[in-house]
């Protein structure tokens, strides 16, 4: 070879340099895309956390209440039927007096002169809480019992920094003197901020008492819906996929079915909602707002997802396993159930859990079957009532709270999102663990 044609490997040719630069640019684009995605994620998560974490803490007032027999049990015979006749109106003055007495006890100076002025410091639900206690412990009448009662949402908002002194002038629910008193009570340890279990276990509350609202009952609604979805879509979806993938002849009909299943997966969820309204409620007369109906609608929505993922994981089982089983005289069904299905199981479970997670976060179809709205039911007291009684679902509850005027509900909506995300992350984690656990090599 002559020197003229010899090129050193040390010097990059112009072509190589361009190629390397293109590669470098491409890597930079990729990194930028990932960085941007991560930034969005961090912003999203920190916003959710910043706004929602307040919902997990609530201000409580510790009040000694004298359970006056003259008011609560006029006949003095401790007859439970009579005690039940006494409404919360009779309890209000007792609770207010209890709190008012603390002003003097702690030597606090205030312009508030009447026990009645204490009303706005406590939640409207506090009297009901005392009444419930008395009804279950009638023997305590005549005693002084210390209660841990919810502070009103304004006091709670003031402690959390949501309610500012400047805004109070136009607020008829609280005044500056009451805020001053709140400050003094916090100092004295009468009012304190504590972990709010009620938010996780409680039911929705009316517009005027956000401090009482909890997501627990709608969580149960979601739970019963997921039971319906799991119980219907897993067997139906897996059976349909096994039939389509392993038994059905490959012809035009199965092609049409396959295309339509893929199409169903792309149908907007609100369409399933209106279908559920027409079929399940108007035609079949199933109860409105019931988790059963919600579950049925979400089943329709989840089925295509489960069928597609199940078929994909059945396809991924190597044909050599089928050959091996058929070759020693296993029937088609034995081949599928003894060998193919166990190997496809991790994929099927993953698909199912992802389908369920999708259904858990779905709101639109629930709008149409009446699972959104003020549904402040008690927790269901059994399976039948869990499936059939009106209830909400977590995402629908969040939507409902976000709609309401009081900023205290805004905080609760974010808090609900945190709980929903925890559920979704847990489900995804389970999906990953199952896949790891059951993954087998062949």
């Amino acid at each position: 070879m002559s020197d003229a044609t010899h090129t050193s490997l040390m010097a990059q040719s112009a072509h190589t340099r361009r190629r390397n630069q293109a590669e470098k640019r491409f890597r930079a684009y990729g990194l930028a895309a990932i960085a941007l995605g991560l930034t969005f994620l961090v912003v999203l998560l920190s916003t959710i956390f910043y706004n929602g974490v307040g919902a997990f803490q609530q201000s409580f007032v510790n009040v000694p209440v004298y359970l006056d027999p003259a008011k609560l049990d006029k006949k003095g015979n401790r007859d439970i039927a009579d005690i039940k006749k006494v409404s919360t109106f009779a309890y209000a003055p007792l609770v207010q007096k209890g709190l008012f007495a603390l002003i003097e006890a702690h030597g606090i100076e205030t312009t508030l002169k009447k026990p009645k002025d204490m009303k706005k410091l406590m939640s409207a639900s506090s009297t009901a809480q005392v009444r419930d206690y008395v009804i279950s412990n009638p023997g305590q009448i005549g005693e002084t019992v210390t209660f841990r009662l919810l502070a009103s949402s304004r006091v709670d908002g003031y402690i959390k920094g949501r309610v500012k002194r400047a805004d109070v002038a136009r607020d008829k629910n609280i005044n500056v003197a009451q805020l001053d008193l709140s400050d003094a009570f916090i100092e004295a340890g009468v009012i304190s901020k504590e972990f709010n279990l009620g938010f996780i276990t409680g039911a929705d509350a009316s517009e005027s008492r956000p401090e009482q609202a909890g997501i627990g009952v709608s969580m149960l609604g979601s739970f019963f819906m997921m039971l319906v979805v799991l119980g219907l879509s897993l067997p139906i979806g897996v059976a349909a996929s096994i039939y389509l993938e392993e038994f059905a002849a490959k012809n035009r009909l199965t092609d049409v079915i396959e295309v339509n299943i893929s199409n169903l997966a792309a149908v907007p969820s609100i369409v399933f909602g209106i279908l559920g309204l027409a079929v399940f409620i108007q035609f079949m007369h199933l109860p409105q707002s019931a988790p059963l109906v919600g579950g049925l609608v979400l089943t329709l929505m989840t089925l295509p997802t489960i069928i597609i993922s199940t078929r994909a994981s059945l396809k991924a089982v190597p044909p050599s396993i089928r050959d091996a089983a058929l070759g020693i005289g296993a029937s088609k069904m034995q081949t599928v159930f003894h060998h193919v299905l166990p190997l496809a199981m991790p994929g099927i479970l993953t698909g199912t859990i992802i389908g369920l997670a999708q259904a858990l976060g779905e709101t639109a179809p629930l709008l149409l079957i009446g699972m959104v709205g003020y549904i402040a039911t008690n927790p269901p007291d059994g399976l039948a009532s869990g499936f059939l009684d009106p209830n909400s679902a977590m995402p629908a509850q969040i939507y409902e709270w976000a709609k309401r005027a009081d900023p205290a509900y805004y905080e609760r909506a974010w808090g609900g999102i945190i709980i929903l995300l925890v559920f979704l992350l847990t489900m995804n984690l389970i999906a990953i663990l199952l896949r790891r656990r059951f993954e087998r090599r062949w």
Binding site: A249, K250, P318, S320, I321, R322, D323, A324, A325, L326, G327, I328, G329, A330, S331, Q334, H338, H339, L343, R440, R441, W442
Partner: protein, 266 residues
């Protein structure tokens, strides 16, 4: 073309005919993959199918236990008889047929289960064992026949997929033997194995000949010459020549056979 009538007459003198195929045609859609194959396979004999890739030898092998049924576009015409019974008759259940005609595949394909369960699976689904002791015995016997017992007897619960390639293939043979088949079909059983494992499997094939009729598809002419008594040469879907292995390799009658075994086509 090979004249089957005289060959089968001479064969009848020596051994019983296990499989007899007449005018077998196989189509994959429009592709005519097997053309007019007539052949008689003897009992207690190793028959080797040789030929260049795509010549139809594996396709024909898979016709013998109806494994081609699983391919939708595959269509088979003609008669294939096992012990005088048409295996493509409507009354025949392919599952029963496959219990009688076992198969070992090109790539070792043990189930992702324990060694014991791999071998025990066939007897279990066919109800061959009355008790756990019966089953243990079948498993041991099958593993012994596959010359694997001494290597695995202490780790029967270990996964079958964790063994070496040669061991896996012998496990597959043990699994096929466990269902007490009458014929064993082997589709290039040694193509994924090293020479030592190949030698072990070949030795095993020779041993199994005492009990079964074996049909082996192979790309290695040396292997065909070593293990088989009869050889069939396929070319472009035709059965070109069939006869005693020694005769095929030393004195082929057809020009194409000679070209193939001397390495000029294929």
């Amino acid at each position: 073309m090979y004249d089957y009538s005289t060959a089968s007459e001479t064969a009848l003198d020596q051994k019983t005919i296990k499989f007899s195929a007449r005018n077998v045609q196989v189509y994959y859609g429009d592709n005519h993959a097997i053309k007019d194959v007539n052949v008689d396979l003897e009992d207690k004999t190793v028959t080797a199918f040789i030929g260049p890739s795509g010549c139809g030898k594996s396709t024909f092998l898979r016709c013998l236990n109806r494994m081609n049924d699983t391919i939708d576009i595959c269509r088979i015409e003609g008669d294939i008889k096992l012990d005088g019974e048409d295996i493509y008759d409507k009354a025949i259940d392919p599952v029963q047929l496959r219990a009688k005609v076992g198969m070992v595949f090109q790539k070792p394909n043990p189930f992702p289960k324990s060694i014991y369960d791999n071998v025990a699976y066939g007897p279990r689904i066919h109800g061959l064992a009355q008790s756990k002791t019966d089953l243990d015995e079948i498993v041991e016997q099958s593993l012994r026949r596959a010359a694997l017992w001494d290597e695995v007897k202490d780790r029967l619960a270990a996964p079958g997929t964790g063994m070496s390639g040669g061991q896996q293939q012998r496990l597959c043979i043990a699994r096929a033997v466990a269902t007490a088949p009458e014929v064993l079909l082997m589709d290039e059983p040694c193509s994924a194995l090293d020479p030592i494992a190949t030698a072990q499997v070949e030795e095993l094939i020779d041993e199994l000949r005492k009990k079964f009729s074996l049909v082996i598809v192979t790309h290695s002419m040396q292997q065909a010459a070593r293990v088989s008594q009869k050889t069939a040469f396929f070319h472009l879907g035709n059965l070109v020549e069939f006869g005693e292995t020694g005769q095929i390799f030393t004195n082929p009658t057809d020009e194409r056979t000679e070209s193939y075994i001397t390495g000029r086509i294929g």
